[in-house]
Amino acid sequence: MLLKLSGRGLRALGEVSSRPFIGRISTDVAQRGPNEIWLARGGAGVPDGFRAYLLAGPRPVMPPRDSYALGPEFSYLSDGDVIRIEPDRGAVHAIYRRNSRTNSLLVTERCNNYCVMCSQPPKDRDDSWIIDDLLQAIPLMSPDTGEIGITGGEPSLLGPRLIELVRCLGQCLPATAVHILSNGRGFATGDLAKALAQLHHPDLMLGIPLYADVPEHHDYVVQARGAFDETIRGILNLKRHGVRVELRFVMHAETYEGLPAFARFVARNLLFVDHVALMGLELMGFARTNLDALWIDPLDYQRELREAVETLHRARLRVSIYNTPLCVLTPDLHPFARASISDWKNAYMDECDGCALRTQCGGFFASSTLRRSRGIARVRLG
């Protein structure tokens, strides 16, 4: 199922607040409080004491302040979800879904790279309000949450505010793994890496994209001269201070030839990283803009992929292949493939019905219907 995480799904039923606010969905009267948003299931009465009300069914005679009718596309919202409501636009945004395995928090849309396949193209505008919102939202999240992702834009551009955010996560959700997707450049100099390390977060990992063994190729992919050097220095700095780092390599027409050299470089120079993820291309954002230049059927880079996996695995690095359906990978690569696509982006094709590998398979990004591999085919176990 594809979920719509934001949209104009609200219709005001009466008087509303003038400013956006954040709250947690509740269906339990006993939970009432200034940060709780009542979600009516059916036509029961409207209790008092909630920050806002999402109602289904007929409009009450005297709706409390901030009562809204919720559009059907948001019917998935449930207890414990944290949302942001923009009364003037009638907009709702699901910041956190309690029942999702993976919740990603976008912390800024600004970035100092401009990757040719960026799925979330950067916007250069002041969006520091986002982090204020998140600092409010995090205490409302369930301490049982397995993992929280932090994405951008480039989170390290937030500097000390990123540290504040991770501190907040560590304090409010001490049992939750935190994964930050960063280009690493912000950790190249100064004290940011040290400050992050000093939080002693119990389960923190930085995912840092690296696309080549030499600057000229990496810098081209991220469209920023000097980026490779800063990213490498960032990785060294983070590891020096004991922060866990995962390398991420997105495979597409402009990178796949360099896979073996990249793997040899990592095995020789960056053996101390904690994980290497080799990732299929998500056809979103700039990857769509540059679709013809970047698309390559994964079948056509299996040789390079296999060599890279072999090199990294032999060097005893942890290697994973993400975002690639099992049927396009040769069977010897299956043990490295992970079903990694966030549930709200995930889709399958007709071929997948009755496929023997379906439960282990990552399937597709919903976006990948734009181009499909010749290799997609139902697998039947003989």
């Binding site: 401009y114 040719v116 063994d213 030499v214 600057p215 000229e216 190729h217 810098d219 081209y220 469209q223 001269r225 000097g226 490779f228 050097d229 490498i232 220095r233 060294l236 027409a253 050299a261 040899r264 470089f265 095995a267 020789r268 120079n269 053996l271 700039f286 803009t289 540059n290 013809d292 230049a293 032999r314």
Partner: protein, 486 residues
């Protein structure tokens, strides 16, 4: 290919600027056409003579494939790759850091007595006189104190002889005592008994099983060759070894038994037979060693029986045979080759004590001899048996680990054994993959550094390394197998 959308810049916008700088490198001729260029941390590139010259003159086109390779391996850097220096520093540190762990291998010579009379043996005695050639318990205890004074987190205690099982009581004592100390120390502790396995009985096997003890035995090849090399009075050494291997494997597990071969003139024409014997007995590793210039072997002029060229033929034929065996799907690796490959491709280099800079003398291995004397290497004590005590580091009666390590004579040996400062080695393209063998040069040239132009050690290193690089460059099938040994 279709280009990117106009708001993106193409590759040329990110091309390196034409001026590049060289990072430290050495080079050496590979063959008539090619040269090997190595960095300080052992990464390498094979180039033609013209390429080598262009590279060194800063005339290489910076957009070419060779430039990319040299840059990725940190042999050149430019404006956009200053991080090369940081990475190079990290790699250098990673390679040399293990030296600071100091001694990991501790050899206890629990007795010199032996029932074999091998032609090449340097040290053993055939005698019933226990008191003269067995290690005293008091010395063993003192040695153990030294062992645990070493800061190395991984400690391997190896029992040698003679035949260590002839003094099994002391072996037992050392194992138990080491484990008692380790209950507090919590090192990664391992035991190995180097034995001909003739005296393996159930008591020994039970004890070995309880304490996870490994066995390393001697196997020189097929029965006739093995028995010719290793005469056993009133017995058949080969049968005893094969039988012992089977029993030890059954009792302890397959991987608990390894074998070591010694090359003699009689072995030279028979490398294939030797390898097949190892495969037949289910070994996954073989070490094609050259004959050492110590002890009995030199006295009987066995060493003169063949020179380095003969051994090289033996090695090259052997390696070819091993690669063929691997292509049949049988896993077998050659250790000398694996050590070299490790130095070429693994960030940590190799921990093999005979090929290190500085040499592994004392800082890699310490030998506690039966008579309480301490040596910096096994070869050092063999040299002592020939009357040259220059690698003796005093006696267990008056030494601590610290006093051994700070011994002036040892410091001098270590300093002299840095190939980086040895004539010829300092400029040699193979330096990062090579090492120093001060005992060998002392034995053959009466000088710890040695003149490498006349050194069989150097000749062997050069030939082996040239052969390996050539295989890696020219034979993709061989390369695939070789890379799996790293």
């Amino acid at each position: 290919m279709t280009g990117l959308h106009a708001r993106f810049r193409d590759r040329t916008a990110f091309a390196p600027r034409a001026d590049y700088r060289l990072l430290p490198f050495r080079f050496i001729r590979l063959d008539d056409q090619r040269y090997v260029v190595t960095s300080d941390v052992g990464e390498h590139v094979v180039v033609s003579r013209d390429q080598l010259i262009a590279f060194a003159r800063h005339e290489l086109p910076v957009t070419g494939a060779l430039y990319r390779e040299l840059k990725a391996k940190h042999l050149v850097f430019d404006d956009d790759s200053r991080a090369a220096l940081d990475l190079l520093a990290v790699k250098y540190r990673t390679r040399v850091a293990p030296v600071a762990n100091l001694t990991g291998l501790h050899i206890f010579v629990v007795t010199l007595r032996c029932d074999h009379s091998c032609h090449y043996c340097q040290v053993s005695r055939q005698t019933e006189d226990k008191t003269r050639f067995d290690m005293a318990r008091d010395h063993a205890d003192k040695a153990l104190a030294l062992v645990f004074e070493s800061p190395n987190p991984a400690i391997k205690i190896e029992f040698q002889g003679g035949e260590p099982l002839l003094n099994f009581g002391l072996v037992k004592h050392v194992v138990q005592e080491a484990e008692r100390r380790n209950a507090v120390q919590r090192r990664d502790l391992q035991f190995v008994i180097a034995s001909n396995l003739t005296h393996l009985d159930d008591e020994i096997l039970n004890f070995a099983r309880e304490h996870d003890i490994y066995f390393s035995t001697s196997l020189d090849g097929p029965e006739d060759l093995h028995n010719a090399n290793r005469p056993l009075r009133g017995g058949n050494s080969y049968r005893a070894a094969v039988d012992g291997i089977a029993r030890a494997r059954a009792a302890l597990g397959h991987e608990f038994v390894s074998a070591l071969m010694t090359t003699t003139p009689a072995s030279l024409p028979r490398v294939e037979d030797i390898i097949d014997e190892y495969v037949r007995l289910g070994f996954t590793s073989i070490f094609l060693r050259s004959l050492s210039p110590y002890g009995f072997a030199i006295r009987t002029r066995l060493i003169r029986g063949y020179d380095i060229a003969d051994w090289l033929g033996f090695y090259q034929r052997g390696l070819a045979h091993i690669l063929a065996v691997n292509r049949r799907g049988v896993q077998l690796r050659e250790e000398l080759t694996a050590i070299a490959l490790q130095k070429m491709f693994a960030p940590l280099g190799s921990s093999y004590v005979d090929l290190q800079s500085p040499a592994g003398i004392a800082i890699g291995a310490l030998v506690y001899n039966y008579n309480g004397k301490i040596y910096g290497s096994d070869e050092g004590r063999m040299l002592a048996e020939m009357g040259d005590d220059s690698f003796c580091l005093g006696s267990l009666d008056d030494r601590t680990f610290a006093s051994v390590m700070t011994d002036d004579a040892l410091q001098q040996i270590l300093e002299d054994s840095l190939p980086e400062s040895a004539p010829m080695c300092a400029d040699c393209g193979f330096l990062p993959w090579c090492g120093a063998d001060p005992t060998f040069h002392r034995a053959t040239q009466n000088d710890i550094v040695g003149h490498k132009a006349f050194s069989a050690f150097c000749a062997k290193q050069m030939a082996v390394l040239r052969h390996l690089v050539t295989l890696l460059e020219d034979d993709p099938d061989a390369r695939r197998v070789l890379m799996s040994w790293v």
